[in-house]
């Protein structure tokens, strides 16, 4: 490697970046926009769920239960006259669930029979349905306690569950989604910035021109990596600042593991983009490959929303091919839990291995050869 030649190439590459506003746009505008939309838009915690309340016959007990639902932050109760009307509303997706108190509810309660409270949830969104079930159970339990309390007794439950959620006591799903988002956005940026750059030179014939110069392929590749790496790290810094100051996600780990792992990940993501570019030799194909293989795997197989630990074992192995997976793990831990060295080391080693692997294929594929 010759420093002079490399410097010349890097300067050319940097000018190209500065002159085409789209690269700068990708590195700075994109993370800000995406984090803004997603940081506010992505959450798994259901609130103000519209719920149909059908009370066929008024009674003090029924009213107490209804007021429990009215006071709950999770629900937006809508009184309905009949179960038919409520079922229609459920079919039309106007409500997500129905609470149904039949006309003999109060009588069964008082005579000591088992008075059923009908709960119907729309199971299409099964995750939400499960959350609603949990919230309904909470309201029901509070109501039971008040009912037995009013009779001067205490509700006796043999075993009660007491829970403590570490790292995220308020259970804000945004706190775990935002660090994951940073990893996804950085995957896209790395791939987008570099997936076209080598293919473009092939397509325009400038690669052939480069081949007759004394410049080595190593220098060409290095000159592509350096400026885009710096650009990507700028975007990364911006994303972290936004996560901490705008979205108030706690950053409990220390700075240098964050810097080390971000650099490693950026390096891997850029190498992946370069590999696409080198392999495709054609911007059209490179673009198509980038659309297909970067975003969706990073979105679904990285542990960003879907927990990897719950996937079938074969798929868990497959996720090791997705670089974002390691970075999501590192970021979620660094932000929420702090410096946990074993996790940090394992994931960093994997990232480094992936980066070197990509680099090796790039080197193999980009010999000075014409086809």
């Amino acid at each position: 490697m010759d420093i002079m030649r490399l410097r010349g190439l890097v300067r050319k590459e940097s000018r190209q970046i500065i002159r085409d506003p789209s690269s700068i746009g990708i590195a700075f505008f994109l993370p800000v926009l995406l984090l803004l939309i997603f940081g506010y838009g992505v959450s798994l915690d259901a609130r103000h769920v519209p719920l149909a309340l059908v009370v066929e016959k008024n009674s003090p007990q029924a009213m107490a239960l209804v007021s429990g639902f009215n006071q709950s932050d999770y629900f937006l109760p809508i009184p309905m006259r009949s179960i038919q009307q409520a079922e229609q509303a459920l079919m039309h997706r106007k409500v997500d669930g129905i609470i149904w108190l039949r006309h003999n509810f109060a009588r069964d309660l008082l005579t000591g029979g088992k008075a059923p409270i009908g709960v119907i949830v729309n199971g299409v969104d099964s995750n939400k349905a499960r959350l609603i079930e949990g919230y309904v159970t909470g309201v029901w339990f509070n109501w039971l306690e008040r009912m037995t309390g009013a009779q001067g007794r205490k509700l006796k439950v043999p075993v009660t569950v007491e829970h403590r959620v570490w790292f995220n006591a308020a259970v804000r799903s945004r706190d775990y989604l935002v660090p994951g988002l940073i990893a996804i956005i950085m995957t896209l940026i790395g791939a987008m910035l570099t997936s076209m750059v080598v293919a473009r030179e092939w397509e325009r014939g400038t690669m052939e021109a480069l081949m007759v110069t004394p410049v080595s392929m190593k220098e060409v590749i290095a000159s592509k990596i350096i400026p885009y790496f710096l650009l990507g790290m700028g975007g990364m810094l911006l994303s972290v600042l936004m996560a901490v100051f705008l979205f108030q996600v706690p950053l409990r780990g220390s700075m240098w593991p964050l810097i080390v792992s971000s650099s490693l990940f950026m390096f891997t993501a850029i190498n992946m983009g370069l590999l696409i570019s080198v392999a495709a030799k054609n911007q059209f194909v490179a673009g198509q490959i980038a659309i297909v293989i970067t975003f969706l795997p990073a979105f679904i197989l990285s542990g960003f929303v879907f927990d990897i630990r719950t996937m079938p074992v074969v798929i868990q192995w497959l996720t090791h091919l997705v670089a974002a997976r390691y970075f999501v793990d590192i970021l979620q831990t660094l932000f929420l839990a702090g410096d946990i060295w074993p996790l940090f080391l394992i994931n960093s080693v994997w990232l480094a291995v992936m980066a070197l692997f990509f680099l090796m294929i790039i080197k193999k594929k980009s010999r000075k050869l014409l086809e």
Binding site: S22, L144, P158, I291, F295, F299, F306, T310
Partner: protein, 369 residues
């Protein structure tokens, strides 16, 4: 006119299918992705790794813990005997939760006083934490009613009778896999259209196309049809996989679903062509594709519900065709919805399609560089 359009369409198809790499990109990823994502995208937990920290010498605690060890949803990884053992297990993600039982558990229980089961959860994925906590509660509820039946007391006057419509076992695959139909159809059509005009612009052949007797409308139709056909074929393939391979029940009508696919593809192609005709280079086309694709997927309700988003973000989602199509696919599959339940989801997509296609056609002529 038809002959001209047909000729352009034939050329477009050749441009897409001529290159071996492009053919591979169109065929292999959708197959691989429906299989991989179909199995992986789920909110259900199974074999939740957990640890036991039991300080109680009594019988009752062991009976309770045996229920966890016997359950399919839980998988015992470690047993610890003091406080210091908890942190490493959770920190390093060896377990999702630790069940802690204090020394006086059995004593309290037999005296009729409340006995506590403490659950310590890893909140790094708060959704998984809450779901596994619900599983714990279910097991404890089972234990409670068994205990009450044996020892009396604990009469609950009113029970919840929960039933869930359309997906009685609340299997989240049924929610996610029909969504993948929308996801992959969108990706494929964008892939075919978003770079197609930009590529010709860069090569200079688009100027040549403009001086032929073809009108912008004809160019537009010729450029759209390949995306349509490829989108239809791939959507059909994925729907077939969803029904036959993943056994997600299809309760609705194919007419309702395919009308939805038609409207969805129309809007996706319109957006793809618009991006393509705004961009001068393919790099910009790619950036535009991502700039649309990523928010469109994340703000569609595919994984996280739209109702949870703040108002202004919800208004933005009205511009997102995937939002409408997702409801149509899911309702067609699970709810068996008929046209009258869904009609107001079709026209926004058609409107988006017409608006973006018009814009693309106008940009053909007016954006010269």
């Amino acid at each position: 006119m038809l002959r001209k359009i047909f000729a352009l369409m034939k050329k477009e198809f050749r441009a897409i299918l001529k290159n071996k790499k492009t053919r591979m990109v169109l065929i292999i990823p959708p197959i691989a992705q429906i299989l991989v994502f179909g199995y992986s995208a789920s909110f259900d937990l199974n074999k939740v790794p957990f640890a036991i920290y039991n300080e109680d010498p009594g019988l009752a605690s062991r009976q309770l813990l045996a229920r966890f060890q016997g359950a399919e949803t839980f998988h015992l990884v470690a047993t610890i005997d003091h406080d210091d053992g908890i942190a490493p297990l959770i920190n390093e993600k060896k377990v999702m939760l630790v069940l802690h039982i204090g020394p006086d558990f059995t004593r309290n229980l037999s005296k009729g006083q409340p006995a506590k089961l403490q659950v310590i959860l890893d909140g790094r994925n708060s959704n998984s934490a809450m779901i596994s906590l619900n599983y714990v509660r279910t097991v404890v509820m089972g234990f409670n009613s068994h205990w009450a039946a044996l020892h009396g007391g604990h009469h609950v006057p009113a029970q919840l009778v929960v039933s869930s419509w359309f997906n009685s076992s609340l299997d989240s695959h049924w929610f996610i896999i029909p969504g993948i139909v929308a996801l992959l159809a969108l990706v494929v059509t964008l892939e075919v259209t978003a770079l197609s005009v930009a590529k010709e612009r860069e090569a200079g052949t688009f100027d040549q196309l403009l001086v032929t007797p073809m009108t912008p409308l004809e160019i537009l139709i010729g450029k759209s049809l390949p995306g349509f056909i490829i989108g239809f074929v791939e959507a059909t393939f994925i729907i077939t996989m969803t029904i036959l391979w993943f056994h997600v029940p299809f309760r609705g009508s194919f007419l309702v679903l395919y009308l939805g696919i038609f409207a969805f593809l129309l809007s996706a192609i319109g957006i793809g062509l618009m991006i393509s005709s705004i961009s001068v280079t393919q790099q910009q086309g790619l950036m535009g594709a991502f700039l649309f694709l990523v928010p469109a997927v994340i703000l569609s309700g595919f994984a996280t519900p739209i109702e949870n988003m703040p108002r202004f973000v919800q208004y933005i989602t009205y511009l997102n065709p995937m939002r409408y199509f997702l409801i149509i696919v899911r309702s067609s599959f699970l709810q068996g919805a008929s046209f009258d339940l869904l009609w107001n989801l079709y026209w926004p997509m058609v409107l988006i399609g017409i608006a973006t296609l018009t814009a693309a056609g106008m940009l053909f002529r007016n954006r010269m560089y």
